[in-house]
Amino acid sequence: MDNFRKKFIEEATEHISELEKALLELERDPENKEIVEKVFRIMHSLKGGGAMFGFEKISEFTHNLENVYDLVRNGQMHVSKDLLDATLASVDHLTNLLDDDKVTLQSTVDKHKELTNKIGEIIALRQAISVESIKKSKESTEVSPTAKSAKEDKSSTYYILFQPNETIFDNGTNPLYLLDEIYGLGSCMAIPHVTKIPDYSEIEPTRCYTYWEIFLATSNDVNSITDVFIFVEDECTIDIHKLSDTNLLSNKQFLDKLEELHKESKDIGINDLQAFVSKLVSSKTLKEKKAEERAVATSKENSISSIRVSSEKLDTLMNLVSELVTTQARLSLYAEKASNTELIAIAENVQKLSRQLRDIAFSIVLIPIENLLTRFQRLVRDLSQDLKKEASFIAEGTDTELDKTIIENLTDPLLHILRNSLDHGIEDPITRMKLGKPRHGTILLKAFYSGANVHIQISDDGAGIDQEKIRQKAISKGLITADATPSHKELMDLLFLPGFSTATNITDVSGRGVGMDVVRRKIADIRGEVEIESKVNQGTTITIKLPLTLSIIDGLLVKIKDTFYVLPLTSVDKIYAADHSKLVNTFNNLIVLDGQQIPFFYLRGEFDIEENKGKNEQIVVVRYEDKRIGLAVDTVIGEYQAVLKPLGKYYKNQEIISGATILGDGTIALVIDTNKAIKYFSLQFSQNVTPEDKK
């Protein structure tokens, strides 16, 4: 049972988040029948499952909710704001109940009471279903199975007329099974009547013409008899009479009488018997039947199209795939050295397979960012109410997929950004009207692929950030000197410094000094970058650039002096050979390739390695923002699948190298983050050039 409970919790968590999502949809489109139906269905599943797996509070609670939405569904109630508020609060409460079904925490107890009352009120308003009946139905959920004792015979005798409609077979009922069941209740005698069977030529084999008179002596009450016919009560004539409080079927006289009646008339009926029985007084014990036990033989045929796997297993899978890729590189290297054609062929095959395996394994851990959005919608909804602002949250590109580890680490920073947008960005409705903006603010989340990255943009149409304010603040904090003239971008970057907040009023929503610096750090942890762009009174856009995955990349292996480097293949555009002299004897770092002037960096120079004595070198042209930039290396070796390993803590203070990878022969190659590297190099370049220009 524990296993089932665990499963239920997983499932219920999913249901709850689905419910939340559906409710938010409903708020936008309160007349949509389909959504109401969906809400109802989810509640129904929660209720059923809850009761089944011992989460009584959940079951009871959702039962109330379900009643409300049943009214909505039948058009007897409208989706009001009150109702949605209460339901959304209930959704949160359900999550708590899932952890604490016995309602032990005081806070849960209070909440439970409060919400139950609230929902009660909502129902009471419509008075359709009384809360009383809910309680009653709960009490009667478990009925103990019919237990029979062999001690004293307390049987009563019943007369049952069971006359099925002719069409009873049509819905899959087999009346004989019902007779079987009656036989199971006690000692029994069933007399079939076949008088209604028509002539041979008129018989319809799919019709039921037989009916039965049944005499049953049982210690069960009359309800257990009606229970037998519960499925068919509308399709049959069923007449049940109690003949006696004793067991007549063990009475010889009674049986004789039956036989006599059966012979003379076709139907026995109740009238004669009742008269006869009143004369009889006697009781004896009866035999019992026991239920058969079936042998346990199982063969499971499962055809579920998706399965649930623990994330631990996925992590292990990813690790193993990484190891496999590394091992495969060794194999390829060894095969080449051994110059054994057969071995080379095998190695190539292994390479192909491991590449496919890698891709599949990756796609398994990718999840669409849609999963995050419900929480965000909820936040915007609740928070804008608290702040007395009007704002809606729109998401685009919700099917964009990201590594699950990235998604997990992305939630908090994004929540923080959204809070900021609502608190400092979106103005209150009156201010907005004065500025000629629509009352209603909009926060737009846009996700899209861009090369090897996924970009997530959050923009609001709010107040924006005043550059001058940042400047003043930065000066007062001593971050820049009063006469410095930082660029717009540099100013915006200041917002990411620890303790930098331009909010003059500290609210409990944001502006507590724990701010954008934490956001940047958290995003950096998953190898992402954040940028802010803002215009006063037009709004703020925050762009987060994230790597698609964290562990394996397709790379281009290059060599500079004795060291191997890997450049991410996705950013590589083209590779050229270049004459050494053209690379070093240049003052503006430009080279003409394919008739185009392309800025380049001589990596030996950047890495402070002495110039290459060789004649020819190679330039790898990579894409950087919307430009093409060359990176000059000694030699290009070829494509390489790089399993990223983190660098030790001594390499923390640099951003150019994003990780390391182990080559087939065990040497280490450094993975260059081309974006960050080029950014860094150009910064250095301009710093080297500008002072001279000024003089």
């Binding site: 499932e11 269905r41 059923g48 797996f53 099974y177 079987d180 509308d234």
Partner: protein, 121 residues
């Protein structure tokens, strides 16, 4: 020969607990996640009983029951549906669609077996 029962429910936990109970009883169990998914089993496979939930996405139980009753092979197959105490109207609707009987959720295994014994042996 073990009897074959097809279970249709969108809730994995319900599917599992029902299959578990039935397999313990010696039945062979097939599983569908909604009405549409269940139809793929109804291709001539010998099935002795169908147990279906009513509220399901894609294709709900009522539609499924109606579909099944249209098929010659399964025209008279017993069909039980899963329902809760409170839904009298649904019961009628399902019966009219051609269901044989119902199982009230929540149920203990004994109740499930009792309901099944009403329609197959």
């Amino acid at each position: 020969m073990a009897k074959t029962i097809l279970i249709v429910d969108d809730s994995e936990s319900i599917r599992e607990v029902v299959s578990f109970t039935l397999e313990n009883e010696g039945y062979k169990v097939l599983v569908g996640v909604d009405g549409k998914d269940a139809l793929k089993f109804l291709d001539g496979t010998e099935i002795d009983l169908i147990i279906t939930d009513l509220h399901m996405p894609v294709m709900d139980g009522i539609v499924l029951i109606k579909e099944i009753r249209k098929m010659e092979k399964y025209q008279r197959i017993p069909i039980l549906f899963l329902t809760t105490e409170s839904q009298a109207a649904k019961k009628m609707e399902a019966k009219e669609a051609g269901a044989t009987g119902w199982i009230i959720k929540p149920f203990v295994p004994a109740k499930l077996i009792a309901a099944i014994n009403k329609v197959i042996r």
